[in-house]
Amino acid sequence: MITAIFVALLWVVVAILVVYTVRHYIFTFNRLFGRHRQPYVDITAAEWPVVSVFIPCHNEEKVIADSLEALLAADYPRDRLSIIPIDDRSSDDTGRILRDYAGRYPKLVRPVFRTGGIPGKAAAMAEASARVGGEVHLVFDADYVPGPKLIKQLVAPFFDPEVGAVMGRVVPENVSRNLLTRLLDLERAGGYQVDQQARMNLGLVPQYGGTVGGVRREALSSVGGWRTDTLAEDTDMTFRLVLNGWQVVYQNRSECYEEVPENWPTRIRQIRRWTHGHNQALGRYVGRILKKPAHLSWLQALDGALLLGVFAVGPILLFGWMLALALYYMGYQPPATIFMVLLVSAFSTLGNFAAFFEVATATRLDGSRNRVRLLPFLFFGFLVSLMAVSQESILQFVGRGFGGRTIKWDKTERYRNGGTQ
């Protein structure tokens, strides 16, 4: 009886992994041979709407000035632009820097200083966006350095009345630091150049990533604003918008530099935070999306559900390995085909991180030359991710539960100007 249950579970695991494998292959082949959709990027002349650019900050003295300088150089009508850094209880020099910029550019830079309330990016966004106008709310992390044309590019999709949120592409700036930064550069390329753009091409559900992107104020208001009880307010926002009839679009040509983690502990903390928040969204929205609201196609609903489940793939994969081992020692010999599929799937599906084929394709599409040589090392990066994702997921599902983790600033270290904070 137990053997039969284990075999059935193993088949379920294999089926899930095969679905994710097929998904990766579809996305990658779409990017290699499919039609490239980027309909809004050529809107270069327009009656531009009033835009508020939010920059949540917590101890960002090393990077915030670069970000503000880049935004001040943006090619956007000054009378329609507000830059709103949100300083959430910084204990370093961030507040002084923001006051300095506010003094020099009083009409453009209007910082918000938080001294109380729930900490964290989501709460900071919720509080500030409720106070400030602007038809479009763009969000950048404090270490991001946008190019002059980026704001117009990110605003352009909102001329489509159905678009609720837009997402641009994040490009690592500190690539050359070490093996980790180089692997993250490859992962980011796969995730954006292939995964996100394929979803855009296929009319599925690109994900709003919480930075280098924005939300239409009306859409934000229609779904109840930013949630403060989540660690992944971006994923949460994506699905609330999609479920409420808004479209999320991705613009591959709207690129912005970011800093990626330069050491493994920081990277693991980042993954665990993403996992927790993403799994919160999985618990909240997977049922509703699978019920397929009338405005969504079946493919969109399926893609949405798979997107919600990407951080569950890691533990599922581990579970499959454990089942296979258990069955082996129980004397059961599963058909070899299952192992083959499991093996292939294991190499092709690891949640949110683009699979090897995707990454190689992305480097080709980016016109990169030799960085693809590092592809074999990506396996080690994926193993670390797999363990971190699985650990957090197991704690979440079995231990703390979906809402059990304390909401706080899980700050990613900054490296600009050398050293860490």
């Binding site: 959709r37 309909p39 809004y40 050529d42 809107i43 270069t44 002349a45 327009a46 009656e47 090619d75 350095v145 946008p146 190019g147 002059p148 044309k149 980026l150 117009k152 590019q153 001329f159 489509d160 009345p161 159905e162 592409r169 490009v171 690592p172 700036e173 500190n174 690539v175 050359s176 093996l179 180089r182 550069d185 390329a189 009319g203 239409r216 009306e218 859409a219 208001s221 229609s222 409420n244 009839g245 690129e255 912005c256 530099y257 009338a294 405005h295 980016d366 990169s368 030359r369 030799n370 960085r371 040589r373 590092l374 592809l375 074999p376 090392f377």
Partner: protein, 355 residues
Amino acid sequence: MSAAFFALLLAATALWIILPLVPAIGELLRPTDADPLNAVGSDSGDLTVFADGFRDYLARQLPLALLDTPHAEYTGRLSDGTPFLQVGERSAFLREAANEGTIASLVVTTTPTTLPGGEVFLLELLARETMHGGADAVYRAVLAEMDLSLGERSSVLRWVHAAGNLSIGRASVLFGRASALGDVRLHQGVTFRRVRAARVIAGAAEPGAPRMLPPVVQGTVKFPAGTTRERTYTRITGDFTVPSGGAVLGSLVVTGTLTVERGARIGGSVKTHRDCVLEGDVVIDGSLVSRRDVTTGDGCAIGGSLVAERAATLGAGTTVGTPTSQASVAAERIALHDGVQVFGAVTAVVEARTV
């Protein structure tokens, strides 16, 4: 199995495994491709970026002595060695300097100039005064500080920019960008990809002034069953037709094909998941976005930008944008009929043409 054979087998297996890692280890130890992806541009994305760059380049390179003799003819080299030709009051100087019509120098014209036609400019041309190009000329790039008109069947290989008005003759081909601070007039049969100006006009006729209408305050169109009202737009599932003379209040999203009959008006923006067909004299106050084709009849007016993911065909006299509100037309393929005017930019991914 002997120990030696086992060791050999083990070494061969290890080599077999390590082989794919050799390039990876090499790239890790001696990086050859570890710079950030060169993806974040430092320019504003404006069509005039090349013209601005060329102006800056000339400011650095032009011999200072020329500033004192702007009307003189001059042949020489810029400080970076580029051959240089200044055409002053005697425009025949250019013809004399040409080799069977081919001009291998960077050319600066400093007086109003009319060219006979047929020239091939291998380097850039700066026109400091009004310039009229002749037919069948080939330009690499042109920067005009006043008005500029290019003759019939001209070709511009990279870019052309005029600080005044720009006129492109019939059957010309613009391979790169064209821009002007004033109007750009594209005569019949011009093919191009990216044009930006205060106003882009198709054809020789002078279009009429855009209509200024009061806002729609009440809708007169009955929507089909299943229509949903979202926060800022009305969603209609399937195909839909706005009847002649009808008015729609607010924005409209149609998941099928939208047909707007003659004289109807939509008081917001429009999004269609399939084709969008506007019959004559239709007015859309906001933007128009289609995942397929957009076809407009004669005399339509679109207040905002027009985006078609496949083809856009704008009928005679159609207006996009207004003199006080810029707009863009973007599609894979664009056809502009006589009298179309766009206050802003026209960009085709594959090709645009005037018909």
